[in-house]
Amino acid sequence: MNWLRKNLVVIIGLLVMAYILIPNLVVVVFSFNKPTGHFNYEWNQFSLDAWLDPCAAPGMCDSLGLSLWIGVVAAAVATVMGTMAAFALGRYRFPGRSSTNLLVFMPMATPEVVMGASLLTLFVSVGLESGTTTILIAHILFTVSFVITTVKARVASLDPALEQAAADLYATPAQAFWKVTFPLVAPGIAAGALLAFALSFDDYIVTNFNAGASTVTFPMFVWGASQRGIPVQIYVIGTVMFVGAVAIVGIAQAIGSRKRKVDA
């Protein structure tokens, strides 16, 4: 009984972890299914077909390529702009700072459907044709606030004494920044960039408003498939993305902890 009380939080934690991971496991398992009809809802038979020919579903790999490209470009632009803004907000006091913070917060507090709709009205009124450009504009918009928030937390937690120490050791401001400040903030920037990519790659609602008729991102492809019939290949991509993300972060962590050990 005492043991149970002591470890209750661990047990609940593990159960919630299962709640988070079971749908992903379902995706992995069903990527090996051979469905009977158009929809991949019920387990039928083990098969490697989808894995051996991942691009068999027409249009899927094109949409995947487009989404990856949009994700990388949007994340890159949002990370540069967001990091600059985060430094300004994290270490300077200036008039209008709190309204700037509000402006950063507002896009995160706006439901996607509202953001997508308002962007559409803007693009329609200025006559900008929907397509990759409008998707990129929208994705940079809703990811930049997340980058600013993530990096700002890191900048604010920096000890100003470190830059002072660098200056005492005759570092120029540029040297102090690139050799001391930047490496310390870098994990926050990396986290912000990763978050921006994930949010962009995952987005359906805003994208659907601003994509136009002929531009199909991966989430839009999945949506279309969910109405017509779901190719097993979608689950293959889901599995690869999940395992890939875990592997990339895992490797980055392993390198990071080894480096720390070497440094120490």
């Binding site: 661990v10 934690g13 593990l14 972890m17 988070i20 991971l21 079971i22 749908p23 992903n24 379902v26 995706v27 019920e42 600059m84 300004a88 907000l89 270490r91 300077y92 006091r93 008039p95 402006l103 950063v104 917060f105 507002m106 995160m108 507090a109 706006t110 439901p111 996607e112 459907v113 509202v114 953001m115 709709a117 308002s118 009205t121 803007l122 009124s125 929208a138 930049v144 606030s145 100003p160 004494a161 830059e163 200056a167 401001p173 994930a198 949010l199 790659f201 609602i205 659907n208 408003f209 999945v222 949506w223 969910s226 991509i237 889901g238 999940f242 890939g244 993300a245 895992g250 962590q253």
Partner: protein, 304 residues
Amino acid sequence: MALVVPGVRPVKRRAVRRWGTFTPLILLAPAMLWLTVFFVVPTFSLASQSLQTGDIDNGFVLTWHFQTYAEALGRYWPQFLRSLIYAGSATVITLLVGYPLAWFIAHRSGRFKTMLLVLVIAPFFTNFLIRTLAWQIILTDTGPVTGFFRATGLIHVLQWLGLVTSDALLYSPFAVISGLAYNFLPFMVLPLYTSLERLDLRYLDAAGDLYANGWNTFWKVIWPLSLPGVVSGTLLTFIPAAGDYINSKLLGNTQTVMIGQVIDAQFLRVLDYPTAAALSFILMATIIVMVGLYVRAAGTEELV
């Protein structure tokens, strides 16, 4: 714009003088320009759209037609109310299940901490839609989950609560709410984790030394200290959930339509832009008012 930099600490004053007074302005310019042109301006163009009359073929004219708001609300208040209830329930569920998980990761997971954090975020990379499709598989009529609910009689409890209408779990309010809770759980867990991880565990010993029991330690010490995480977690969950329509469309039925679905249809299929814009504005205003009241009640000012 004059920039005043109060020199609280000498080090800051020195650093700032080297950087120049206009530095923050220059650093902020690109992001703020982007946010202004593509967020503030569209918000006004949406406001203008909501007060226009006309149709898609003959064009829309700004006629300050405020009646659109009354008509839209009169017609779609059930979907509206439903969105707030579903999003609210999903937020409460994520808080209840996310809190123990965040505590477990922050203080009890040892060397698995990073791994667990990665696994909380990793589902983001499996597409939102694919994960929701996985819920269809999990809740399917012939699946083990539905079987379990039927065998234990829990299905009758759900029926009594009005969360399912038949003996099926899929395509019901229950499915929509559990899908919402599932999809937005990471947005709850991460801020909670950040708050709880900073919490000094010696406070718990101190509370114990002062004869606080477990419940008092939680309610009087841990909970207040974790409030910033609770506030940002609930906001990051509730706001997107209130506007979401993917879960209600893939996991629900015609009786679970949420307001996001209505706005989407009005904009992209019915092409009644003024009504869609008015509904968007009502949704946004409701959320802003609720967030304002909530943040004031919680007493945390620094949101981001």
